[in-house]
Subunit: 350 residues, 2 copies
């Protein structure tokens, strides 16, 4: 906790607008906790919750106070917050409407935006977080290895994604960590594509972006295949993206700038015939959220530190032709990085 | 659009903190659009996006302007927003940090919270929205009907949830609409439980809460089973919850107060030996978000209107024993409601 606040208050709105830091701070494995608060003090964490989530909070051993409705919540908030002088809030995940409620409840206390410190803390993963992310990565990797066993020509994108989700859950995932992407043919050029009823045809790229959710922590990996025999251009595109990813992986270690890693990957692609086709940054943090704090990017540079978990995912995208992305999850170490997703990276055929 | 604003600006933060109204207003089927904006004027919608999502926006036929980084985004925002006098914002789904950016960009314009009007509009579903929700409901219902075919004694919660997700996607869902709950035994008493490696045992309740995502719209239904022969108490609990749900369904029609519907369901449970066990409200809106605007609740009363889509989901929960919930999705009509989820509601055995 930042030294100059008496408490930190995290408040969820309605799904999907939940504060991931709420779950980071409380460690509660079940429940949505819409409209609920966590009050964090050096002495411990207290959750203000509706009856709906009370059992989930209590089973996690968290100090819990139940409110029946909005008025009672405001009374509880006032009683707790008005005795503080400086209260930390998380501007990155707090809605404007909830900010108004906290302001109303806290009387004369000053609200201090501690999101930067909170995100800094969340970036460095604790051992138990690394254990959960690693498990989520092992599940995704095992499924990634067997994609050619269960995806075949003629299959729909939704069917392929269904298989991926199914096998991740059979291996212990609580669910997919995010909407699994299965993008065939030209659709592989849309990085955040949602699977539809498109059929896999000979000559298509087949891009799969997926991750497992395990005890609230997620993995996030991408592999790109070709149905049948790849064309020369498809092979070149895959080779360049793979080389870009290897350049990035080689550079990662404590103390290196994310911007430099991003540039290393980007230079490979921009130095090839696929110049300009790498339209996003090289990676992002991974943890409770699939887009956790931290990035490997020139737009949001940061120095890599031991204990960070990041994705490394260069890609090349050509509208009307298709796209290739190769994505792994890594743990930054003192002298390099540990790849948490173990799955072949050559251009495999379906 | 509210008459007294020149434009509405919707801005996403980082997943999961996305503004569902952004997707409602733009209708873009693919993409995450983190850090992106929609500027809505009577003359049309424009999206400011990073290159990453540009193709997804363009393929949807939406007017699109691409920015390369945060500075360029701010320049684009300033150019657009500074000419307005009054700008509508959505305080319910806008983060405090993004509010700060909009304030910086808009110069002397006044920011007006239009979230209530926006949510009012989102509550009444348009025909194409009803088509998509109905499809999502049909998918979930079909899977709900066949649960006893693929869930059996000894199965893990995650395995059962894997089957449900798999069959929803085989029937055309883009994915589960939210984390599928499979809660066995005493865990059925936790309404927002995440499936784990608990095995289904004889005598257990088996509660399944799941929904399909179809073209960004979702369904949300719950059925509770018993493994083997139900005990007298289990049968009584299920019977009371079912009666509560039927009372609620019978009351729903245009013009009725949500509070009265909630009371009708609650009175059945509170008039039984399960008094006090119904620990949440009777229902919520359903649409792009699984918790869309609107509710059937005494804490947040509203008058039901034709075109609303709502869940009807009374439940009873006893810690250490288990819970029952029966949930359907309905479309409010002039003289009643149309149940969109067609699936048996008797206490079925596994």
């Amino acid at each position: 906790m930042k030294k100059d606040v008496d408490a930190i208050v995290l408040m969820n709105a309605v799904e999907p607008n939940l504060d991931c830091s709420f779950f980071y701070a409380t460690g509660i494995p079940n429940g949505l906790f819409e409209g609920c608060l966590a009050v964090i003090r050096p002495s411990g964490v207290e959750v203000l919750t509706s009856e709906l989530e009370a059992l989930s909070a209590k089973e996690a051993g968290v100090k819990t106070q139940v409110f029946e409705n909005g008025d009672e919540r405001m009374r509880l908030m006032k009683r707790r917050l008005s005795r503080f002088k400086r209260i930390g809030i998380n501007s990155m995940e707090l809605t404007l409407a909830n900010h108004r409620l906290i302001k109303k409840a806290c009387g004369k206390a000053k609200l201090v935006d501690i999101s930067r410190d909170l995100f800094d803390a969340r970036m460095i993963k604790q051992p138990d977080e690394i254990t959960r992310i690693s498990k989520a990565c092992r599940i995704a990797s095992e499924v990634g290895r067997s994609i050619p066993d269960f995806v075949s020509e003629g299959m729909l994108e939704t069917e392929a994604a269904a298989e991926i989700n199914y096998w991740m859950m059979r291996l212990g995932a609580a669910g997919p960590g995010f909407t699994t992407t299965a993008a065939f043919g030209t659709k592989s050029a849309e990085p955040h594509y949602t699977p539809s009823r498109r059929k896999l045809r000979k000559g298509n790229f087949a891009l799969f972006d997926f991750g497992a959710s395990f005890e609230r922590y997620v993995s996030d990996m991408t592999r790109t295949f070709v149905c049948g025999t790849p064309s020369k251009r498809q092979m070149e595109m895959h080779e360049i993206v793979l080389r870009a990813q290897e350049e990035a992986l080689d550079m990662i270690e404590e103390g290196v700038h994310g911007e430099d890693v991003d540039n290393a990957a980007r230079n490979v692609i921009d130095g090839s015939k696929f110049k300009g086709c790498f339209i996003h940054s090289t990676g992002h943090g991974l943890g409770i959220s699939v887009h956790d704090p931290g990035s490997i990017s020139s737009a949001r540079d940061m120095v890599l530190r031991k204990g960070m978990v990041l994705t490394v995912e260069p890609g090349a995208y050509i509208a009307g032709f298709g796209g290739v992305r190769i994505e792994d999850d890594v743990l930054v170490t003192k002298n390099g990085c540990k790849v948490l997703t173990a799955c072949p990276k050559d251009l495999r055929r379906i």
